[in-house]
């Protein structure tokens, strides 16, 4: 059965309006004429349809920067934080014992995120494997169960984009919920997941079957999208350079000199998942929260007694790239990078995947990576 339809552009507002009835509709909105960001859509007409290729990652809807995990109600047994209170005083909560007081704060809100890109959908596929294989992460799982992505085929990639070399964009053959291709006056609509198909079929009166001309136009868009990429990057050649020992520590030392330790590459990466856990002690409860964390900080692996196993910055940069270029393929058979280019947008020191991969490409076979 064909899962392809045509949606006239002047029907899209109506469609989104209907979808919003039982979901929080998140879409790209222009903030006072400046940035385009994903926000809850209040006015459907404000959704930006000609959005820039690269927006902040929608990872935050599945794995937010600050997430409350558990709440332990302690009915007044925890001392009130007064002047001078700074950290949790040891042993304060030893009396808290009843299991009935524990609340699981997993977010179960139903969301529809409109306007994400194929690279992000590809990233979510990998996040699913990371969070849901082995032990299942319940916070991710609840959010994931309740989210639907409507992605848009990229026909105007940013200069930082390189999904084309990874097969993670600019369009996908499968593995998405609903994928739209902009054909000018209409969208070519494809649905892949069960929820995506159901969502389209629920309002089948808005859609029509595609004709030959529609298919031709869609193919045209795909072709022109592929032609517009500035960056052609093979992470496979980077991986080989590493595995074959051509990337020496001096290379990592040199690129690391410019690291500002901001964590931006990790925070922006649609695939980075590290977090830390902290307890916040309120007068009536303790909240266990998790926060985005990054392996690029020396304290990330700090051991008892202040020992820093990754004290050198160079080791941490190397670890990040090894994880994405070497270890991901070993475990998941895919790179830990979807070519979205966000690290290039955010890194103040220009230590991003595309730049590093390009530099590795320039390494001589004899290992003389030191260039003037």
């Amino acid at each position: 059965m064909k899962r392809e339809w045509i949606l006239e552009k002047n029907h899209i507002s109506y469609w989104l309006r209907q979808l919003r009835k039982d979901r929080d509709l998140v879409g790209p909105l222009r903030n006072e004429g400046k940035d385009v960001v994903f926000m809850t859509v209040e006015q459907i007409h404000e959704v930006v349809l000609d959005l820039p290729a690269s927006l902040p990652s929608p990872k935050e809807f599945l794995f937010p920067q600050y997430e409350s995990m558990l709440r332990f109600n302690v009915s007044g047994k925890v001392p009130v934080a007064g002047p001078g209170a700074k950290t949790v005083s040891p042993g304060a909560c030893v009396e808290c014992s009843r299991e009935g007081d524990l609340l699981d704060l997993a977010d179960r809100r139903r969301r529809l995120v409109f306007g994400v890109r194929s690279c992000d959908v590809s990233a979510v596929r990998l996040l699913d494997r990371f969070f849901l294989e082995g032990f299942r992460d319940p916070y991710y799982e609840q959010r994931r169960k309740n989210i639907l992505f409507v992605s848009i085929v990229c026909n105007n990639p940013d200069p930082t984009c390189f999904c084309i070399g990874l097969g993670t964009g600019p369009y996908l053959e499968e593995g998405f919920d609903i994928q739209l291709t902009d054909l000018g006056d209409r969208y070519f609509v494809q649905a892949s997941s069960a929820e995506g198909i159901r969502t389209v079929k629920d309002m089948s009166f808005l859609f029509r079957r595609p004709r030959k001309a529609d298919l031709d136009d869609q193919y045209e868009v795909f072709l022109s999208a592929k032609a517009r990429f500035h960056k052609r990057i093979s992470l496979e050649s980077s991986r080989r350079a590493i595995l074959e020992g051509r990337v020496k520590d001096s290379f990592w030392r040199r690129v690391t000199e410019r690291c500002f330790e901001c964590g931006g590459c990790v925070y922006e990466c649609p695939l980075c998942t590290c977090f830390t856990v902290a307890d916040r002690r309120y007068p009536d409860a303790v909240e266990r929260i998790r926060l985005w964390d990054t392996c690029l900080f020396k304290g990330f692996t700090r051991m008892a007694g202040g020992i820093l196993p990754n004290g050198k910055r160079m080791l941490r940069t190397k670890r990040w790239f090894y994880h994405k270029l070497v270890h991901y393929p070993e475990v998941f058979d895919e790179f830990g990078c979807v070519g979205c280019g966000r690290c290039a947008v955010t890194c103040p020191g220009r230590i991003d995947m595309a730049t590093i991969a390009t530099e590795m490409k320039g390494l001589d076979l004899d290992g003389s990576e030191q260039r003037p």
């Binding site: 995990m69 558990l70 332990f72 302690v74 925890v78 950290t87 949790v88 040891p90 042993g91 304060a92 909560c93 030893v94 009396e95 808290c96 014992s97 009843r98 299991e99 524990l102 699981d104 997993a106 990371f130 969070f131 082995g134 032990f135 299942r136 992460d137 319940p138 916070y139 998942t273 590290c274 977090f275 830390t276 856990v277 902290a278 307890d279 002690r281 303790v286 266990r288 998790r290 964390d293 392996c295 990330f300 692996t301 700090r302 051991m303 008892a304 007694g305 020992i307 196993p309 990754n310 050198k312 080791l315 994880h323 070497v326 270890h327 070993e330 475990v331």
Partner: protein, 276 residues
């Protein structure tokens, strides 16, 4: 794995501290009793927490029996372990787990066993000692080589006689002899020649500070013990225990879910030693 009814792997369950047995300065053994029986294996760990202080991974220091009890040997080293040290009998402590792979007892079946421990690193090996005592046919000769900084820092001192009585050879050495110590001094890795086992045929289980593990593994290998029978358990910063938070990620492996027990072969090929 966890006993939470919600299916949320991060939800801990409560246990009562039955008794606190001081072992050395800043090291105590906490015997924790839970409502339902606990099923854990030597080498596994629990995420242990107090609300408001946080969670830390602690290896089991006892052998799992049908009595819903686990021994946790804890050194005061930071905010959470500091808070745990304030616990007294009757207090509640929170647990998740057990997690991790545990010691591969198959590798020592029918063989001589060398247990090498340094400092509080004896705690994760204690369940192995108990196992070998209670299952004397499982392995051949079992020898414990234990090193501590000073006589005052020896843990489980009271139990060593009992271990000896039940067939475990126990050799103890200290870095600094103090307070009338008449036993051995020097590094634990200086005790190989006192062993009466054929190292090429034996299995080693090692736990202690990383420098000690590193030295012991390397030397046993040079003495002819095959890499896959030199086994250790590693320590790492952890926030989740279930392979998600990323802190213990080393090489392509997570210490929490792929370990914490690894053979020398794995340690070398994955580059698992943290200090580089």
């Amino acid at each position: 794995m966890t006993r939470s009814s919600s299916g949320n792997v991060y939800v801990p369950f409560g246990g009562k501290v039955e008794v606190v047995i001081p072992q050395a300065r800043d090291i105590s053994l906490f015997r924790v009793k839970t409502e339902a029986p606990l099923d854990y294996a030597p080498g596994q760990f629990f995420m242990v927490s107090l609300w408001g202080a946080g969670e830390v991974p602690i290896s089991v220091a006892s052998l799992s029996r049908d009595d819903a009890v686990v021994d946790l040997c804890i050194r005061r080293a930071g905010a959470v372990t500091g808070a745990l040290h304030a616990l007294e009998a009757g207090d509640t402590v929170w647990l998740r787990g057990p997690y991790g792979n545990g010691f591969p007892l198959d590798t020592s079946r029918g063989r001589d066993v060398v247990l090498v421990a340094g400092g509080i690193g004896l705690a994760p090996l204690r369940p192995l000692i108990e196992w070998f005592m209670e299952n004397p046919g499982d392995a051949g000769r079992v020898t414990l080589l234990y090193g501590a900084k000073s006589p005052g820092e020896i843990v489980f001192r009271d139990e060593m006689e009992q271990w000896r009585d039940r067939g475990i050879e126990v050799l103890v050495t200290v870095d600094r002899a103090e307070g009338g110590w008449e036993g051995r001094t020097g590094l634990v890795t200086g005790l190989w020649q006192e062993l009466r086992s054929d190292l090429q045929q034996a299995t080693a289980y090692i736990c202690g500070p990383e420098v000690m593990i590193r030295a012991a593994m390397g030397e046993l290998f040079l003495l002819g013990m095959p890499e896959e029978r030199i086994i250790t358990t590693l320590e790492a910063h952890m926030k989740c225990g279930v392979g998600k938070c990323g802190h213990c990620y080393a090489g392509p492996r997570y210490i929490c879910t792929d370990g914490p027990v690894f053979s020398y072969r794995e340690v070398k090929s994955y580059g698992l030693f943290l200090s580089r």
